[in-house]
Every structure is written in C-alpha cells, then in structure tokens.
C-alpha cells in the first residue's frame, strides 16, 4: 500500500499497523490482549505480505525480548499490547533502553489496576513517562489523539527511535485503538536524520566483532559513566523534541490540559465553553516525554488556572505542576479504570472551576 490519495476508513489499531508497515517496520512480535488485538491480527497477514516478519510470541515478555533481537539485527521493529501486558514488559524495556536499541512499543491502555476491564483508560501515564522498569532510563512517549495522528506519529516513532537510538512508546487507549475514522495514508518520509546502524550484529565479516550488552561491571565507574552519558542524551532529546498543540489558548483564563483521546473530547468542551463566552483553551502535549514544559509555561503566563483532564486518578497533573513550577492553581478532573469522558461532563467541570 503505497500512496492512496484519498481517505479510507480504518480502525485506530489498523491505522497504526499500516503506518508501521509503511514506515518499513520489518518485525513485529506481540501477544493478544484487548483492546489492541487488531494490531497483531492486521500485521499477521499484512506484514509478511510486505516482506516482514510476524511472530505471535508466547507472552509479552518473549515479545519484548524478541524486539531486543530484531533491533540488534538492524530491523525496524514493534510490539504492541495493553496495560497488564505492558507491565510485563518493564524489565525488557529497561534493557532495551540501556542497550540503546531502537524500537516502537505500543500501549493501547485499558482499565486497571489488575485485570481491570477492557474499556479505555489512561492509568499508565506514570509507567510510561517515569519508567515502570528499573533504573534511570527514558522512553520517548507519543500520545496521538486522532487516527490521522496515529498514522503520522507511528511513522515518526520509528524515525525517532532510530535517530535517538531509544525505544519510543506510543501511548494510546482502547478508544483510539477501536474507533474508526477516515485517514489519509500519506507516503512515509523520514522526519529526522537516520544515522547508520553501526551497532548491528550481523556477523563480524570485514569488521571488528560487536557486542550488545547492558552489564557494566568493570571498571566500577563504567555504569556511572554510562548513566552520566544517558543523562546527557536525555537532556539532548529534551532540548529538541517537545511536541505540543494549543487550541484557543491565546486569551484563555482557563486552560484545559489533556492528552490523547481525552484532549480531543476536551476540545469539544472548550468549544462549548467558548460558545458560552468563557475564555477557555486547550493545551495538548503530544510528546509526554519529553514533556513540553515551555509551552505549558507560556500558557500559564496568560491563564489564571489550569484544569487537567485524564482518564485516571490524576497522573499527568504532576508534570503539569512541575512544568509551570506550581505558578498557577491546577484543578483535576478524571477517574481511573475505564471511564469515558464526555465533552458535556468536562464542560460542567470547566464551569465549576472557572472564575
């Protein structure tokens, strides 16, 4: 599927899958879990047809470790799961980040904790942006809010992963995965410089042999130095990769902050508020890490107050407060575990906190 000029109707999970193929993903390993099943289902057929490799792994753990091998082979690779499955991947993710292997990880979040339910949720924010695994590592976290954006960010995710040699997490949810919407499958074009993969293990013919490892025993400072390096690398990413969208913020007294599907629903609420004459805007981080703090700071200069809306008990709220250095009151609206926000309900909350 190269470049159909017109929009076609697909589910979010399918859009994501096709974007991966279009971006040259050559390897996928995953394990079934609702609400992301269309990803492996789509790719089980389409990926081999496009010359790639599809493996239904025996578990999420096997899947993430297969990515370790696929990425080491120099192949663009992806895994996808939903909340409990992503929890199981945390050790593997820490390893991949430590080994600096590019790959794309998808989490179509569902209700938790525990088995929870299969409705959409955003309870895995902390896990995604702070690091559910051990040690000081970071994932680049992308949070699309429309299917078109899923398409584009998924392609970009592979680029960022290669560019920064870092795993990229696409943080969606059950709604984004399951809803259908017309999407234009534009042609893939790399958006950043893609360095040569000089880490690839493909047999040492004609070169020094290579080692990919994350154990740094000797000398005692090796791991410390590596962590200092990581810190710098992450600071570098933070300095250049912060994506954010603002909507009607210029004169806003109250700015709603939300990401993903919630942001989109909140946009409806902002329009309602504006219709009622309330000066309300929306700020939507697209990268959750790096968190677009300057944008938040800029918005907070004008706004008197912020309202964070999440499908969780309140997680992004911490990054919002930190980014604006607690300079404005930050209200919260949300609930954990498979809750669907509506524009109307958000509007009610807006009215109750608007001054």
């Amino acid at each position: 599927m190269s470049k159909p000029s017109k929009k076609i109707l697909l589910k979010g999970n399918e859009v994501l899958s096709q974007a991966a193929i279009n971006a040259g993903c050559g390897f996928f390993a995953g394990y079934p879990i609702t609400p992301q099943n269309e990803v492996p289902e789509y790719l089980s057929k389409a990926l081999p047809e496009a010359g790639g490799i599809f493996i239904q792994a025996e578990s999420e753990i096997a899947a993430i470790n297969m990515l370790f091998g696929a990425s080491a082979s120099g192949v663009r690779c992806m895994t996808s799961s939903s909340s409990p499955g992503v929890s199981l991947k945390q050790e593997g993710i820490s390893y991949i980040a430590a080994a600096e292997l590019p790959c794309v990880i998808v989490n179509m979040q569902r209700g938790g904790p525990g088995l929870g339910n299969i409705r959409a949720a955003q309870g895995d924010y902390f896990q995604s942006v702070k690091g559910g695994g051990h040690g000081d590592y970071r994932l680049i976290v992308l949070a699309p809010s429309t299917l078109q954006e899923i398409y584009e960010l998924t392609m970009n995710a592979f680029d960022y992963a290669d560019h920064y040699r870092n795993p990229v997490l696409i943080l969606g949810d059950g709604i984004l995965g399951q809803m259908a919407e017309p999407v234009e499958l534009t042609k893939y074009r790399p958006i950043v410089d893609l360095p040569e993969k000089d880490f690839v293990l493909d047999g040492c013919k004609g070169r020094e042999r290579r080692v990919i490892k994350t154990l740094l025993l000797q000398p005692a400072e090796a791991l410390i130095e590596f962590n200092e390096y990581l810190k710098k690398k992450y600071a570098g990413i933070e300095s250049e990769l912060k994506l954010c969208q603002k909507y009607r913020c210029d004169d806003a007294d109250l700015v709603v902050a939300a990401y993903g599907i919630t942001a989109r629903i909140a946009e409806g609420a902002v329009d309602m508020a504006r219709d009622k004459g309330l000066k309300v805007g929306l700020i939507r981080p697209i990268t959750l890490w790096p968190f677009p703090d300057e944008d938040f700071r800029a918005v907070a200069e004008q706004a008197k107050k912020l309202l964070v809306v999440e499908m969780s008990n309140g997680q992004m709220i911490e990054d919002v407060k930190l980014s604006i250095e607690c300079s404005r009151p930050v209200e919260f609206y949300g609930t954990g575990g498979g809750w669907y926000p509506t524009s109307e309900k958000i509007m009610e909350k807006i009215e109750s906190v608007y001054e």
Binding site: L9, T34, I175, E181
Partner: protein, 183 residues
C-alpha cells in the same frame, strides 16, 4: 443534531449485522467527504446478547466518537429498543425494524420511522440483509447521506471479497428506502 453533527446508534442481537451497517454508513460518509467516526461497543459485553455500533457524522471536527445521547437510534430488535429508547435526544429519531419490535416504545418527544426489515430481507431471500434494509429507511427519512453514497459504500465493501453480495445488499437498501413508514 447540534453542531451539524448526527450521532447515531445501531443496535440489535449479535448476528444481525449492526457492525456492518455502521461500517456502510461510515464509508458512505467518507465518500461524501464528511467527518465521521465509528465505534463498536467492544466494551464489557460478552458474546451473544446485544451488539451496538455508534456512528457520528458531521461537517465539522468530531470531538468524541461516543454516543451517550443519540440523535438517531437504529433498532433491530425489542431488547435494543428497550435499552436505548430512553437515551435518544429529545426531538430525535428511532428507526425501527418492525418485524422484531412489537412495542415501539412510549416516548412522545421523538420521531419514529419503521420498516419490516427482517421480513423484507427474508422476502429478498437473505435474512441477513435486514441491516441494510433498515439503513434504507433511515436514509429515506433523514437524508443525511445520499442514497448513491450508500450504494457505492456497499460496492466498495463487497467488491473484492464477496462481489455476489453487492446486488442483494443494494436491493435491500432500495427496498428499505421504499418501505419506510412513519409511525
């Protein structure tokens, strides 16, 4: 139908083709270059029982694909009517498969259009096209999409995999379009 936006729910037993109906509607909207979102209730429900799909069609950006308060409820059987009638927006519309719905509900602030969708489908020789019959009645009544967009959507959907189904579905749509009765 605020904001030029129509929020539709299609509900019936599993097997009555509500997902397909939603799919056809959404595709037709794409053909007309409208904004549209479609969503199957993949949620808490287990297999069997009722199924529903929601479609939002709009000239503007669509915020949420959820339909809590449908403008239109397309109802394939009695339990679905019992379940969704209370939610319909005041001034909204219920499109009813009269073959499978005995009691068309009690609300006085909504419109109703009915069609013997299952019966018509049966008479066309395939009970499974009742979903498309009822779409005919829906389009006839609301005019929200053009009939030929629906026909093209049917065409698109079946042309590669099951071209044999194009004709009967088109017929079903037409029959429903003709058979729609206000109640």
């Amino acid at each position: 139908m605020a904001n030029n936006q129509t929020r539709i729910i299609i509900a019936g037993f599993g097997g009555q083709g509500v997902v397909l109906a939603g799919n056809i509607l959404a595709r037709a909207a794409v053909i007309e270059d409208k904004n549209v979102t479609g969503m199957i209730s993949y949620g808490a429900e287990m297999r069997g029982g009722t199924a529903n799909a929601t479609v939002v069609i709009s000239d503007e950006k669509i915020a949420s694909p959820f339909v809590e308060v449908p403008d239109v409820a397309i109802i394939m059987n009695q339990p679905s009517l019992d379940k969704f009638e209370p939610d319909i927006a005041s001034g909204g519309l219920a499109v009813i498969n009269s073959t499978m719905v005995e009691d068309a509900g009690s609300r006085t602030d909504i419109d109703r259009v009915s069609v013997g969708a299952s019966e018509i489908a049966n008479s066309l020789g395939n009970a499974r096209v009742a979903n498309v019959v009822i779409l005919g009645a829906f389009i006839k009544r609301t005019g929200i999409l053009q009939p030929r967009s629906i026909v093209r959507a049917i065409d698109e959907l079946f042309s590669t995999k099951k071209p044999a189904f194009i004709e009967i579905n088109t017929n079903a749509f037409n029959a429903g379009y003709e058979g729609a009765k206000s109640v």
